[in-house]
């Protein structure tokens, strides 16, 4: 494999000897992030006891409605929370190292180099004053100390990799000379410029029209395959999840309520929230059934109910749901659900 030729400057995947089945690339254990107000009186549990794992080369989709803690989770993984955000407990094992034990300087070497991120609005992610080449080359220069000329050559290769036509002329152009789809692909190129092991994409397609969205998703998937990249895909679009992801985690009120392989969850959701989510999107096959909306509002994260956070809106809630929050029940074949119904299923 390519590990035998370590000096090749090409963008072939450099597969390190990490057996995917035994050790996950990133493992989050009981991770909690709270936003604390200046006086310390109000605590918002944005991410609450989240445990997730993702293997190399795999795609994990994280879905949930606005304010369910998806983006905070992404910021937590890179440790770039705003000043009010505190990671209060848990572990983040990335390639066996706990990211929470790293110093700020060590984290800087992880960001962009080993874990990269594509932001919510890639249209605005480019500095209007610098050429495309400078911006694509920046992480390479920051992390590898490569001289400008070398970094620029690699920038050209990267633009070619994200299918930008005539990269030789494009590197010298400025962001305003590009179309939206191109700028997005350039942001993608910046993301993979240092060959990270994990790419976090936080709703990267929300600002694009549907045709460009599809192109971009295809590109991301191709890049993922070529570079053996693990991808965390944060979205609220279940259609994109179906197209892109292997694994799925559903978040509700800061907690992961259900995880498992996408196809299994789509066919047979365990958690009533997941079920409700799936019932609220139109399907091509059964046009007779009316779409159902989920009644009520998501709870205030600063004042969560005592029991399950979804209980007030849950059509199948019973006494126990309002008294105690359900722990994570592990089902067959790597599926988990935070629901007392799953416990009954387990017992039965």
């Amino acid at each position: 494999m390519s590990s035998s030729t370590p000096n090749s400057a090409s963008y072939e995947p450099t597969r390190r000897a990490v057996p995917a089945a035994t050790a996950p690339l990133l493992e989050l254990q009981n991770l909690s992030t709270h936003y604390v107000s200046a006086q310390g009186t109000r605590v918002v549990r944005a991410v609450d006891e989240v445990s997730l794992r993702i293997n190399g080369g795999e795609t994990l989709g994280i879905v949930g409605e606005s304010g369910s803690g998806k983006s905070t989770l992404a910021l937590t993984i890179l440790r770039i929370l705003p000043p009010a955000g505190r990671i209060v407990s848990g572990k983040m094992l990335f390639e066996g190292e706990d990211l929470l034990e790293k110093s700020e300087a060590e984290m800087r070497r992880v960001r962009g180099k080993r874990i990269a991120m594509v932001l919510q609005d890639p249209m605005a992610s480019l500095n209007p004053l610098f050429t495309i080449g400078d911006q694509v080359a920046e992480p390479i220069r920051v992390h590898e100390g490569a001289p400008r000329a070398t970094a620029w050559n690699r920038a050209k290769d990267l633009l070619k990799a994200v299918r930008i036509p005539s990269p030789e002329t494009r590197v010298t152009q400025y962001p305003h000379e590009m179309s939206g789809g191109m700028r997005q692909r350039i942001v993608g190129a910046i993301g993979i410029s240092c060959e990270p092991r994990l790419l976090i994409a936080d709703e990267p397609t929300t600002s694009l029209d549907l045709t460009i969205q599809a192109q971009y998703l295809n590109l991301l998937r191709d890049l993922q395959r070529q570079h053996h990249l693990a991808l965390i895909f944060i979205t609220h679009n279940l259609g994109i999840v179906a197209k892109m992801c292997d694994q799925l985690a559903v978040m509700y009120a800061g907690r992961v309520v259900e995880t498992g392989p996408v196809s299994q969850i789509f066919n047979a959701p365990t958690h009533p929230y997941t079920e409700a989510l799936l019932n609220s999107i139109p399907r091509m096959t059964d046009s007779t059934q009316r779409l159902t909306a989920i009644d009520g509002q998501p709870p205030d994260l600063a004042a969560l109910p005592a029991g399950c956070a979804f209980a007030p809106r849950c059509p199948r809630a019973f006494g126990r749901c309002r008294d105690a929050a359900p722990p994570e029940f592990s089902e067959v074949r790597g599926r988990t659900a935070r629901c007392w119904l799953a416990a009954q299923g387990e017992a039965a």
Binding site: L78, I80, P83, R108, R109, V110, R111, G112, K113, A116, M117, L119, Q120, D121, P122, M123, A124, S125, L126, N127, P128, L129, F130, E138, P139, V142, H143, H176, V187, I190
Partner: protein
């Protein structure tokens, strides 16, 4: 046929149009005045007909050449020590230009630097810098400058230092505001995600984006600084006497004003007014031209 011919002829005029429309509201006269003053300052020793610091006492209080008693030897007359007013004005331009530009740049460097630090780092740095500017702005600028001048003593470079220290706060305020909005922009967040250090982000991503504002502010500050320099010289704590400075000439000539020696004050006064007005007009045009909200892309 004729329409075809017109179509073929048309392109050159179309091609020239953007240049004209861009320059359409360019303040040509203020720029020319500033350029002339700049050139005069550079070539002062070539242009000046007499030594500005040495006069002949037999030729005191000569009026400009068009008045009776005036001669073409002293085009704009002479002062109480018999020194040529024109030569002093020419060398005075040098003082005004040097002090004006260096003080504006000095204040700009301090103010922009502290503004970026304050805006980007936030927290206690922000608190310290902003409370400092608040305190600074509460002090009357000219009185504060006089106070500083009394401490360090009069000299041209001390004036630059004093004006820089007095006027940096305006930059700091404006730049900090810019930075606060810039640092929430996606490209700055992308730089964070890409693992850039705070220093890299401030130098590479923030500074180039605020430099426009700093330049506009600088042109507008030029007028303020020149007036301040003239005021300090007028009050006797600016450029020390034998050197010709416009403010100093005003001060020296003020007794003469009562007995009809008008040329001693009117000429330097006009020079100060012209230069400040030009700087302000140019600054105003630049502000509109470089302001992304007023600029049409």
């Amino acid at each position: 046929m004729s329409t075809q011919a017109e179509l073929i002829v048309a392109p050159p005029s179309f091609r020239r149009r953007p240049v004209f429309s861009w320059l359409g509201d360019f303040p040509l006269i203020p720029t020319l005045i500033l350029v002339v003053i700049g050139l005069v300052a550079i070539f002062a020793n070539v242009l000046a007909p007499h030594n500005p610091e040495v006069g002949s006492l037999v030729a005191r209080f000569k009026p400009p050449f068009w008045q009776t008693g005036g001669s073409t030897k002293y085009l704009l007359g002479t002062d109480q020590l018999g020194r040529d007013v024109l030569s002093r004005l020419i060398f005075g331009a040098r003082v005004s230009v040097v002090v004006g530009f260096t003080a504006v740049i000095f204040a700009g460097v301090i103010g922009t630097g502290l503004g970026i630090l304050s805006g980007y780092l936030g927290g206690w740095v922000d608190q310290v810098v902003m409370r400092l500017t608040d305190t600074w702005l509460a002090l009357p600028a000219l009185t504060f400058a006089i106070f500083l001048a009394a401490i360090v003593g009069p000299s041209m470079w001390n004036i630059v230092l004093i004006l820089g220290i007095t006027y940096w706060t305006r930059y700091a305020r404006v730049i900090r505001g810019e930075v606060l909005s810039l640092k929430e922009r996606e490209f700055v967040r992308l730089a964070v995600v890409a693992g850039c250090s705070k220093r890299t982000i401030m130098v590479r991503h923030i500074l180039p984006n605020v430099i426009n504002t700093a330049i506009v502010l600088g042109t507008l500050m030029l007028g303020v600084v020149i007036i301040a320099e003239a005021s300090l010289s007028f009050l006797g704590v600016g450029v020390p006497p034998p050197q010709p400075a416009w403010g100093l000439m005003l001060s020296d000539g003020k007794q003469g004003l009562m007995v009809g020696y008008w040329w001693l004050t009117v000429f330097p006064g006009c020079c100060i007014m012209l230069m400040v007005l030009s700087a302000n007009l140019l600054g105003d045009w630049l502000r509109v031209k470089l302001d992304p909200q007023l600029r049409q892309l």
